[in-house]
């Protein structure tokens, strides 16, 4: 059997291009995805700084910025269309190029094959393609950002008909919006290739002894996420194709009859704006779980590792991941309570949405129970995971309000929603990424990140995000609609300006503090403490091989799995952890 495998082992490529650029090694591809996400998150954060500038000081002139963006600051202060362009690109880049790439394609690519004991993904060539397709999508998205006529202003949801009518819809709705749609369509294709690979790898390439119920929860999360991606992205792709045709082909899938925009009469007829919303959110809701599920997996894994205890209720955790994944396909209508959709349909969606709260709550209880009677080690990875739990609760409970159509009448499309989704989808997922980064960095690069700087980074981030996003709930409760370039046009909002100022200042500090992370990341590549194979005394397969792992992960040894993924503090065992590959006798 060993002979058989050895005969077919991949040979490591030698040239620079094949090794680092067009690499088919899942580990290199994983790092490429992480790099892409780091570039993307930097862009996304800079855009949010620009937004926050305008929200804090709506009519302030910024000569320096006017220099860089002459059109965006035509006449002195930032123009409202520039604000909306920043908003659209920020949301799009964050959701697609950060929260889909880093947790799923980045860490997943690197660690899923290793954790299940495979030497590579099932289809390495396709894996390489998936990254480069995604990369092209990102380049096209950047082209949209710098398109003539400006970047699109229709938000990351690109509601039709605004996004379908072309340049008369407003600045940025010409070339910018077209490039946006094209980029999204390309992105869909790339993500599908990734999903396909993940699923096949888990189903077919697991090592001996690695039964499904011995997979770490991280792998379960990536697996479930891949199912979501496989079935959700085609729907967005279909919507994107139809939207593109409406824009450039003169069709009317989403444009109804008799529209008059800026006194110009359109000739389209019969299209349905709600159709786009349905297609978009059928994808969109699973998408938010695509963003958060890997973070849940990482958190479970890390909480267990650093409280030196098995994950509480492993089976329930797996069940909950699956339940969330499954139910997330039937809740999309909660984004459309006020859209003119049938109010009876709204009732059904309200119930399904409440239902998805149950497995989410179960996960939270299980995390708390995992800590119970543990021996917590406060590494940076652990700190970010604890932060994740706190944020997941904070963002989750507001879902109870938004899931009720009656209450949503007031809260829909206000800052309350912005607070809700930033905390639960945005920041919680980002905390999951940070936790994963501090945890796996030593495996990927052979050196530890600096824990001291990591802790400084953690405290700035944790305090910072609460200061940024908690106050947004109050803006929302006061009825502040989202996607407003400023609030000064409305008397009932004027008293909220100090909150905006506070949020902006918190945002500037928090975002600046991320420099610490980037510094730590690059500094530790050269100067970090050497990690050894298993610095955290973890159990899963990636910790049984060298750091960084050799080309085919396991070298000449064939990994054989004898234990479950979370055997910490087993009574009577020699050490307080039993690795999955330890011999059966390790367990008394």
């Amino acid at each position: 059997m060993d002979v058989h495998v050895a005969a077919h082992q991949h040979e490591a490529p030698t040239g620079f291009v094949r090794k680092y650029i067009f690499s088919m090694d899942h580990k290199v591809i994983g790092i490429q995805y992480l790099m892409l996400a780091m570039v993307a998150v930097t862009v996304g954060m800079i855009l949010s700084v620009l937004m926050r500038l305008r929200l804090a000081w709506p009519l302030e002139k910024w000569p320096m910025l006017a220099h860089i963006f002459p059109e965006g600051f035509a006449g002195g202060p930032m123009t409202p269309e520039f604000y909306l362009a920043m908003l659209t690109m920020h949301g799009t880049i964050m959701v697609f190029f950060v929260l889909t790439t880093a947790p799923l394609s980045g860490f997943g690519n690197y660690f899923l094959p290793i954790q299940v004991g495979a030497r590579d993904m099932a289809f390495p060539f396709m894996n390489m393609m998936s990254f480069w397709v995604t990369f092209v999508a990102f380049v096209v998205m950047l082209m949209a950002l710098f398109a003539t006529g400006g970047a699109p202003i229709a938000g990351w949801t690109a509601y039709t008909p605004l996004s379908a009518v072309g340049a008369i819809g407003g600045p940025g709705m010409g070339a910018g919006q077209t490039l946006w749609v094209i980029s999204i369509a390309i992105f869909c294709a790339g993500s599908l290739l990734t999903a396909l690979n993940f699923l096949t790898t888990v189903l077919n390439l697991r090592a001996r002894g690695m039964s499904l119920m011995r997979m770490p929860l991280t792998s379960w999360a990536w697996f479930t996420t891949a199912i979501l991606a496989l079935l959700a992205f085609p729907v967005l792709l279909a919507g994107g194709v139809l939207l593109l045709l409406d824009r450039v082909g003169g069709s009317s899938f989403f444009i109804p009859a008799g529209l008059v925009i800026s006194d110009k009469h359109l000739t389209n007829s019969g299209g349905s704006p709600l159709l786009w919303q349905h297609l978009f959110w059928f994808f969109g809701h699973p998408e938010v779980y695509i963003a958060i599920l890997p973070g849940m997996g990482v958190t479970s894994h890390i909480l267990s590792t650093f409280s030196r205890k098995p994950v509480f209720a492993y089976k329930a955790m797996v069940g909950a991941i699956f339940a969330i994944g499954f139910i997330s396909y039937v809740v999309w209508g909660h984004h459309m309570f006020m859209s003119g959709m049938s109010p009876y349909t709204a009732m059904a969606f309200s119930i399904t949405t409440m239902a998805v709260g149950v497995p989410s709550a179960i996960k939270t209880f299980n995390w708390l129970a995992t800590l119970w009677k543990g021996q917590i080690r406060f590494t940076c990875a652990m700190l970010f995971s604890l932060g994740f739990v706190s944020l997941f609760v904070s963002g989750g409970v507001t879902g109870m309000l938004l899931a009720q159509p009656a209450v949503d009448i007031f809260l829909h499309d206000t800052y309350f929603v912005v607070a809700h989704f930033h905390i639960i989808m945005g920041v919680a997922a980002i905390f999951g990424i940070f936790a994963g980064m501090y945890y796996w960095y030593p495996k990927m690069f052979g050196r530890l990140m600096h824990e001291g700087w990591g802790k400084v980074h953690f405290w700035f981030s944790l305090v910072g995000v609460y200061c940024i996003f908690m106050p947004m709930h109050f803006l929302g409760l006061a009825g502040h609609p989202r996607r407003y370039a400023q609030l000064t046009e409305f008397k009932y909002l004027l008293h909220l300006q100090p909150l905006h100022l506070f949020i902006s200042i918190a945002a500037f500090i928090t975002i600046t503090a991320q420099v610490i992370f980037f510094f730590n990341f690059f500094w530790s590549l050269k100067k970090g403490k050497p990690a050894g194979d298993n610095p955290w005394e973890s159990t899963s397969l990636e910790w049984s091989i060298p750091s960084p792992p050799p080309f085919d992960n396991f070298g000449p040894i064939e990994p054989i799995v004898h234990h479950g993924p979370y055997e910490y503090s087993v009574p009577g065992a020699a050490k307080d952890y039993i690795m999955q590959t330890d011999p059966p006798e390790a367990r008394p």
Binding site: M1, H4, V5, H8, H10, G117, A118, R119, A122, F123, P124, L192, A195, L196, N197, L199, T200, L203, N204, L205, R206, A207, R208, G209, S211, M213, R214, L230, L231, F233, P234, V235, A238, G239, V241, L242, L245, G249, G250, S251, S252, F253, S269, G270, G271, S272, L275, H278, L279, F282, P310, Y314, K315, H563, G564, P565, Y566, E567, P584, R587
Partner: protein, 187 residues
């Protein structure tokens, strides 16, 4: 007893990605699930749009599409014959030829409609006709590439390639029949 202590039998050795038929077929099935989802989304758009529109004019089916359908069916069948008795290269060639014929026929059908003045922007049925047949056509081109690959790829990959390509090709045939029904069977 906890899950982790269950002594599970050590399963079969993990399949090597490069040799496993199972892996190829699974990958293909998953790809088909995604493609199925794409066309499901188009279908739901079609149904919604159809129900909404007072000026939905059904475009009559270009005659040549009957021949195209026939070509695709023959292509699928002959590929199946080849898959079962792999000696007869002729069957494969026939399958490939019929596939090419299908594409040519579809291009002709498009041309014909355009010469009759039926465009994407005319009416929603025409728009869906173009979208669905084009999306299917692109997948068919991919399929032709796969059929072409059967005799080109390295010997040890050939069998898997053939099996996966056949699965794909039959799916495309079935999808075509479904699209015909959707576009013309319900008016």
């Amino acid at each position: 007893m906890s899950v982790s202590t269950l002594e599970l039998p050590l399963g079969p050795p993990p399949a090597d990605p490069r040799v496993s038929l199972r892996t190829s077929l699974l990958g293909m099935k998953l790809a088909l699930a995604a493609i199925g989802m794409l066309f499901t989304a188009f279908t739901s758009a079609y149904v919604v749009r159809h129900a909404l529109d007072p000026d939905w004019h059904a475009v009559p089916m270009p005659r040549i599409m009957i021949a195209n359908t026939l070509a695709l069916v023959i292509s699928s069948l002959s590929l199946e014959v080849y898959r079962r008795h792999r000696q007869e290269r002729l069957w494969l060639t026939l399958s490939q030829a019929m596939g090419v014929l299908f594409v040519a026929g579809q291009v002709f059908a498009w041309r014909q409609l355009q010469s009759r003045g039926v465009y994407l922007s005319n009416n929603p049925h025409a728009a869906f006709f173009y979208v669905l047949t084009a999306a299917h056509g692109l997948h068919i081109l991919g399929g032709l590439f796969a059929l072409g690959g059967i005799t080109v790829v390295a010997q040890e990959r050939r069998f898997r390639w053939l099996e996966a390509a056949s699965l794909y090709w039959h799916f495309m045939g079935a999808l075509w029949l479904y699209l015909l029904f959707l576009l013309f069977g319900m008016n």
